[in-house]
Each structure stands twice: as C-alpha cells, then as structure tokens.
C-alpha cells in the first residue's frame, strides 16, 4: 500500500471550488500521513494528459458540486480505465439530482420531507403567484427552498412567510434552473457518513449540527465556531440506530460506493427523514465526515487508503 501513487482531484469549476480545494489539501495530507504518494490535481483541461503521463494507481475525487458529483468526471475515469475512489458515474447522477434521490428512497419506504420540483419555466408560463400559493398550501410553512442540484447549502433558504417566497425563488434560481421546495421538518439535524468495509457499508457515528443562527447555511458551515457539533449526536439508542440504518439504506438503494454522507433530520416524533446524500463529502476543517471519523476512533488517512485499495482491486 505504501507504494501507491494516487491523484487527489479537487478544485474544478463549480461554485464549490474553494471548498473542494480545502478538502483536497486535507485529504492529501491524510493520505501522505499513512505513506501514500499523492499528487494534487485541479480538474482542468490538463486532466486527460495528466492521467496518461502520470498513470496514478487510483484517483480520489475530492470535487464538490458540478462535474465532480454529477458523474461527469467519473465517466471520464471509467472510459480511460483509471481506478477511482467513489461512486460510479451512473449512481452519481442519480444521487446528485436531489429530487431523483428522494423519489428513489421514498419508493423504498424511507421517510423524506414532502417535496415539489419546478423549473423556472413553469412559474413563467403559468404565473408565479398561483403556483407559489399552491406550493405553500401543499407543503405548508415554513418550507425549505434549494436548488435541485448542488451542495454546501448554496442557494438554500428556509422560507417562513409566504411574502418571502418570491424573492427567495429569485435567489435560489440564480444557482440553477429548477427549484426543490420541501416541507421543513424541525428536529435534530444530523449527518451520517457511510463507508464501505470488507463486510459491506457501515455507518460512522452521526454528527449532530447545531448552528448558532439556527440555519446551517454557507456561513455557518465554513466559519469555524458558528456551529456546534456533537459527535456522536445526542440521540437515544433507538434514534442513533435509526439514523445509521437510514444512511446505510440510502447508500445501498442509490448504489453508492466507497463513501457517502447522508443528511437527515430526526423529527420530534422520532421519525428520521432523509434530506439529501453526498457522494463526495466535504473534508475541510469544518466538515462533518472528518468529525465522524474521529468520533469513530479512526483516521481519515487509513479510511481513504483502504478505499484506494478497494478501487485498485475492482
């Protein structure tokens, strides 16, 4: 294993470039600490020539958003026969599109907040007001607005009053053409990382998220100190088991591979709701997966080195 040379792919052109670069740096350091040789690559036009000239044993995709999570980069790696850590291109596409992932899991019987997906064109053609009114009467208030694709809570917003909805739609649709509106479930917000081990996927301890402002938005995510975390989450044994099972179920049902992170909320009545899943979890200083790894008494480098071996062996 110590002879392995891996390329950590980060950066890219998505809105989450900055976060991805920080993830890539941290992951690279973790892999070096367990003896791997690591090259850090930006996902740019030189990717193909680098793949051919460097011939890494495996690529680790630390890209967030866009091409790194929608399966595009994975498809390239598959076509060029390069082993890589992470979910395959087709399952990436399914997980990346939040409404698709929700629909798959709802069909399998998992709880997820009620939702509506609409493109800008529908509002334009039918008139915004009646459609927004119907949205509010269907989902109630407060509701959650987010772009149907993307991460780091970019463009996401809790809407508590119907009057806030039109401007919130404009803000959300700046990130994409389609909006996902969800019933807002209040409760304990958790993130659960799932890692593929020799005996199948297992959940790391859930990390509970308590943002000072009450909303886990971009600022709360990436400003150290603005959110308190509990790892493991302050859940009773039943709920802790349930969130772990939900995350593993999402990982399996969506066909995810190696590592994923499921965001969920435990409602006051104990129901565990699936919110979304991430095939390339953040690995920055303020990210949730490293906290879960630490809470599990494991090391990020060892986990990813193990995933590199799995990728090479596939």
């Amino acid at each position: 294993m110590a002879d392995r040379m891996v390329a950590v792919l980060s950066g890219g052109l998505s809105h989450e470039r900055e976060v991805s670069i920080r993830s890539g740096r941290r992951l690279s350091a973790a892999l070096r600490s367990v003896g791997l040789t690591v090259e850090e690559w930006d996902a740019d036009a030189s990717l193909l020539s680098r793949l051919q000239s460097s011939r890494p044993d495996a690529v680790v995709v630390a890209l967030h958003g866009g091409e790194g999570e929608n399966g595009s980069v994975q498809a390239i790696l598959e076509m060029f026969g390069v082993p890589y850590v992470g979910t395959d291109s087709r399952a990436c596409r399914r997980a990346w599109d939040k409404p698709t992932a929700k629909a798959e899991l709802a069909r399998a019987g998992l709880a997820t907040p009620e939702w509506i997906v609409l493109p800008h064109a529908t509002f334009r053609e039918l008139g915004a007001k009646p459609v927004l009114d119907a949205m509010v009467s269907t989902l109630g208030l407060p509701l959650m607005l987010k772009p149907d694709q993307g991460g780091s809570a970019l463009g996401a917003q809790v809407v508590r009053d119907a009057a806030e909805l039109p401007p919130a739609m404009v803000g959300c649709l700046a990130y994409g053409d389609t909006v996902l509106a969800e019933q807002f479930i209040s409760g304990v917000e958790v993130a659960v990382a799932v890692v593929d081990g020799p005996e199948g996927p297992y959940a790391l301890p859930a990390v509970e998220i308590v943002p000072e402002s009450g909303v886990y938005d971009y600022t709360a995510r990436y400003t150290a100190g603005l959110t308190d975390f509990h790892a493991p989450a302050r859940l009773d044994a039943t709920a802790a088991k349930a969130v772990g099972e939900l995350a593993v179920a999402a990982h399996r049902l969506l066909g995810l591979r190696d590592v994923s992170r499921t965001d969920a909320v435990v409602a006051e009545d104990g129901t565990v709701y699936f919110l979304e899943v991430n095939v390339s979890p953040g690995l920055t200083e303020t990210s949730l997966l490293p906290m879960a790894v630490e809470a599990a008494g494991q090391s990020l480098g060892e986990i990813y080195a193990g995933l590199v071996e799995r990728a090479v062996a596939r």
């Binding site: 917003q157 990130y175 297992y202 790892a231 493991p232 599990a296």
Partner: protein, 438 residues
C-alpha cells in the same frame, strides 16, 4: 451492522474554542459565498471582470530581473536588512518627484512609505477614528477603504457623485446633518481621479469648493490617488493636496503605475500627522520591506518609468474601448454606464428589478465574474450596480465577458419578471479587499 473502531467521544464541540474571545470588530469576518464564487473567477475559463489587477504583462520583465539581481548582488546587505519605519530616504525623494507630476510640492520628510496604500488607509483610520466616529466617503467608494473604516468601527456616511464626481452641495448637506446629529466627522475619504469603482473624475472646478467645505466644518481630507497618472490622454489633474497641503493627507501607490505585488505605497501628510503615522507604522510592521522599496527606487532611477506609464495608459485605453463597445453592443435596454477617461473601471447600472449580488452565481455559471455594487457601499445601497474592471483581460476576453454578462442579465430579467421581486436573502459575507475585488 456495527461500525468498527473505538468508543466515541461525547460532548459538544465548537471548531473555534476562541469564539468568545474575539473583539467586536471581527463580527463580519465570516466565510462568504461571495468569496467562494470568486475562487472560481480566478480560473482561466472564467472571464474575470471583477479584479482590479494591473496589466503586468506590459512590464519589461527581463531588464527588471537584471536590475533586481544586481541590486541584491551589490546592495543585498542593506536590501535584506530591517529599515526605518519612515521608509528608504532615496525612495521618499523620488516619490516627491512622482507627486510633482500632479502639482504636489511635498517634502521627503513628510512622506511615509507603506505596504501598499491600503496600509496607509489603515494607519490613517487608526490614528484618527474612534469607534462611532464618522467618515464621509463617496457613494460608492473603494471596498478596501470601507473595510478599514469598518475594522475601526467608524460609521461611513456616503455622499453621492455625478458625472463630475463628488457633489459639493450634497457634501455640505451631509456634514450639516452630521453636525445636527452631534456626530464627530473625522475626515472625508475621496478618490478624485478615475474613481474606484465609479470611474468618474472630480471636476477641477469643484476641487477648491470641496476643500473649502471640509475646512469650514473642521474636517480633514484623505485623498486616495492610485490612478491619477493613468488618464488615457495623459492629462493629470491638480491634486487636492497641492491645493491645501495643511488639511489633506495624500495616499499614493506604485501598484497601478509599476507593480502591485511589491506592495509599495506612501502617505504624504502634514508634519504632525506624519509623526503619528511613523509611530503607527512602527507598531504595525516595524518597517516596510526594504528590498521592495529599493526595487522601486532602482526602477525609478534606471528605467523609463514615465514611458512605462504611457504604455500602461495605452493598454488600458484599448481595454476601456473594448469594454464600452461591447457594452453598447450587448447590454439590454435599461442598463447605463459611464465612460471613464482613465483608470480601471466602468460602473454599470442594470435594469430595475435585478440584484447584482444575487445574480453572481448565475454569472459564474456562465463563466464571467464582476464585482457587485453593494460591496462598494457601507449602507446596503448599490444592488442595481456592478463594477466592470477592464484592466486585466485582453480586449477579446473583455468583449466575450461582456457578451456573457449581458446574457446573464437577460436571464435575470426574466426571473425578475416572473417573480416580480429581487431576492430578499443576500449572499453571505462582505466583499473585503482581495485581488479579485480590490
């Protein structure tokens, strides 16, 4: 299945154990969606009309390299040593020669060399402003200056400009209002030439009046003049400092006329103020980088620096022309902009209903970046404005960038028409100075 590993740790965890210790002035220092978006803007695929980065490709790098090599070889023991907080004496003399081009008769003893004029701004604010004091600034104003004023907890009162720059009657009104409200106004911060971000120049006919108004209200003038030598036709304007040496603190910079990365600027201040600035500089940095000061000094001694400024001017004029012709060709109806006679920037007003800060993610998706207008105001104005910097990209890239921007605005107009609203939620984070926004 159970997970492997050791028993987990319990208890809440803050990722910043120092959170309760920070000073109140750090309140706005948070992660920012805007900054995250600008991370993408630095990629070559994106046409960045956001950054105020000078066109350094116009520099004679080979001869500079030789000069710097010789400097280290012949004077390395001085160049690499601590120096005086006041600055290298020869450079201070040369700075007076540079300022003379704009009518300033300064004495080298009254020049304090700074780490870019940003440090000058910081020091001037530090020695004059207590929390709650008022600084008058043009609206809009340089984002880096607003950052300094905020850091010292000063309150910024903006005064509007028109095509001839700061409007004297509005300045008087603002000062009168502050007086009535019992507010202590410490200084007027002004960029008289080729304003950042507004692109306008203060009419010569207004200069004496502005100075007179400030004197009559007992308000100091801080004149920030990084672009004064970059008028496209070579014309310079009399510096405010040249007209009222005792009541004007002047900030100058080599960032736009030579090389921004050297971080060499200066303050020219009345004698007593200069004494305070030297002491403030000592506590901030001990001394500005000696090597960089000597590089600038040698450059001024051995190179055709006036010729270089002319080269810069011509390059920027070509870029300005590209930006303006592309704006005329592509921008949707309802957009307006000024045509600058020098400097780096065009200030654009977009059609009603659009918030340029909220539009930025769409622009970055379309591979174009700009600086949204609200960053240039301390009071939330500017949502319909944006700044285009034409200084760095090639004319072809500028044209392409403006074309992309126009499409983005068209799409945003459709969105505004659909929902009849501009976004209530703002992207998080202030626009603090950085190579992309400064």
């Amino acid at each position: 299945m159970t997970m492997p590993g050791q028993p987990a740790k319990q208890g809440p965890r803050s990722l910043d154990p120092h959170l309760r210790r920070y000073a109140a002035r750090t309140a706005g220092m948070t992660a920012s969606e805007i900054r995250a978006l600008f991370a993408v803007a630095s990629r070559p695929e994106v046409v960045s009309l956001a950054g105020g980065m000078p066109h350094l490709a116009a520099l004679p790098l080979e001869s500079l390299s030789a000069e710097i090599g010789q400097l280290v070889a012949s004077e390395g023991l001085v160049a690499l040593q601590y120096g005086s907080a006041h600055g290298v004496p020869l450079l201070r003399e040369q700075i007076c020669d540079v300022m003379a081009l704009e009518g300033i008769n300064g004495h080298p003893d009254d020049v304090v060399v700074t780490v870019g004029s940003q440090m000058g701004l910081d020091m001037v604010t530090r020695i004059f402003c207590d929390p709650g004091d008022v600084v008058i600034a043009e609206g809009p104003s340089y984002v880096g200056a607003l950052g300094s004023f905020t850091a010292y907890q000063a309150k910024v009162v903006h005064v509007a400009m028109d095509a001839d720059g700061l409007v004297p009657s509005l300045l008087r009104e603002a000062l009168e209002a502050c007086k009535r409200a019992g507010q202590r106004v410490k200084f007027l911060y002004t960029i008289p030439n080729f304003h950042n971000p507004a692109g306008v120049t203060l009419a010569v006919s207004r200069r004496a009046e502005i100075l007179e108004i400030c004197r009559s209200y007992g308000v100091l003038v801080v004149e920030d003049n990084p672009y004064g030598l970059l008028g496209f036709d070579g014309q310079t304007y009399p510096a405010l400092r040249s007209m009222d040496p005792d009541n004007v603190v002047y900030l100058g910079s080599f960032s736009k006329t030579f090389a921004a990365g050297l971080r060499v600027g200066w303050v020219l201040a009345p004698h007593a103020v200069r004494e305070k600035l030297v002491l403030a500089a000592e506590s901030a940095t001990l001394c500005p980088p000696t090597l960089n000061q000597m590089i600038v000094s040698r450059y001024l001694s051995t190179q055709d620096w006036k010729g270089q400024i002319k080269t810069y001017r011509e390059a920027y004029r070509e870029r300005r022309d590209a930006a303006i012709s592309a704006l005329e060709q592509h921008m949707p109806q309802g957009s307006t902009w000024n045509i600058p006679d020098g400097g780096f920037y065009v200030w654009v007003t977009v059609p009603e209903g659009i918030d340029t800060k909220a539009m930025l993610p769409r622009a970055v998706t379309a591979r174009v970046a700009y600086a949204s207008g609200t960053g240039f105001y301390a009071d939330g104005f500017g949502s319909r404005q944006l700044r285009i910097s034409y200084c760095y990209p090639t004319p072809e890239r500028i044209r392409e960038g403006v074309r992309r921007l126009a499409n983005v605005i068209e799409e945003e107009m459709q969105l505004a028409a659909t929902f009849g609203a501009t976004p209530g939620r703002q992207l998080s984070g202030p626009q603090t100075p950085s190579p992309d926004t400064a």
